[in-house]
Amino acid sequence: MKMSEHYDLIILGGGIAGMTAALYGARSNLRTLVIEEEVCGGLANWTHTIENFPSQRAINGMDLMDAVKDQMIGCGADLIEVVEIEDLDLKNDTKKIITDEGAFTARAIILAMGRKPIPLPIEHDWDNHVHYCSLCDGIFYKDKDVAVIGGGNSAFDESLYLESIGVRSILIVEAMDTCPAAETTQQKALATGKFTIFTGTRLQAIAREGTGAQLELYQQSTGETLRSKVDGIFVFIGQKPATELIRDVIQTDEHGYIIASPEMNTDLAGVFAAGDIISKRYRQLTTAMSDGTIAALEAHRYVCA
């Protein structure tokens, strides 16, 4: 592939929404390029087991995404990964993407950059023990004690993985009065006997102590500060949309998510959006696939008009 080329359709982001859009784009004979800043797969790569993907009773997220990537490439879509996007021109009829690999132009663009994890919002000097991926780093805490910051579905799913690989105890710290995770998942966690759940509690500070650290935990209802010693922290406090590059040119909501029509049109002609990056209530693999499908079909209509 030459490093400066014209395409019918360029898709920014190689998560499930972007890859599904590329599949549909390539199969409808649009010359299609996917540009991914890291590697394909998006947040699904971080999921140990996916149990709600039709046709798969249980599958590892990275395995599923690798299969979709192979299918997408097999259909003829071009892909470049580990690419730095330096500039975008989305307003003209011919859209232009400047990257460290070269300049690419297209008639239509689909924005599918997804979301990124929110980092721990406190200052600390304990970087080597603050983690964002239990699949990656959980094994280093076998027979040790950890805190998980966040009480949503991701936090509980990742915590159950930590429990399954032999972490001795898991302290869940959730700022809201109740954990937003599914009740059944919470019950599954508590049934292991290894979980303690603090709700209405905020992590205020981390003080190193030996090989571990004391966490200062502020309980909002009582105004008390509790202390708990752990060997490591895993942070799952939500995601933010990866819209920094386009926030000034595309209409977004107050949280930075792209406002798209039901047909995935943005406020710029020829620019579509799909997946977790758009403003909507539900964010699932299946809904992202639906968005990607619609965006590609709509892009095809636009290119062929």
């Binding site: 890291e38 590697v39 797969g41 790569n45 971080w46 140990h48 590892n60 990275m62 990964e81 580990v82 730095e84 460290d100 970087d127 080597n128 023990h129 983690h131 991926c133 699949l135 990656c136 780093d137 094994i139 280093f140």
Partner: protein
Amino acid sequence: MEGSIVHLHEQNFEDYVENTDCLVVFHKPRCPNCKVLLKVMEKCRVKHPEIQMACIDSEENKSVVEQLEVSRVPSILIYKEGALVVRKSGIMKPAELAELYLQA
């Protein structure tokens, strides 16, 4: 992984880092950030063939992981003249990876 990136293991790790100025990445299967960094290494290697790059699977080579107290993956260790001169964890861009090595 490109052939030009050396795969290390417990048997050859020490000998390799003692005798080669190199950048070694500790990784793990199914670690998303490791997947990114291995791809970054491939890209960096194309632009900087002079940098010797190697990787080691931290799950299969636990004695090396314990000896070097690697507590997260991906971790990047840079050796020059047989000495460990830089260690850093997490992902970075190809140009940053090259700079990390060249500045070490």
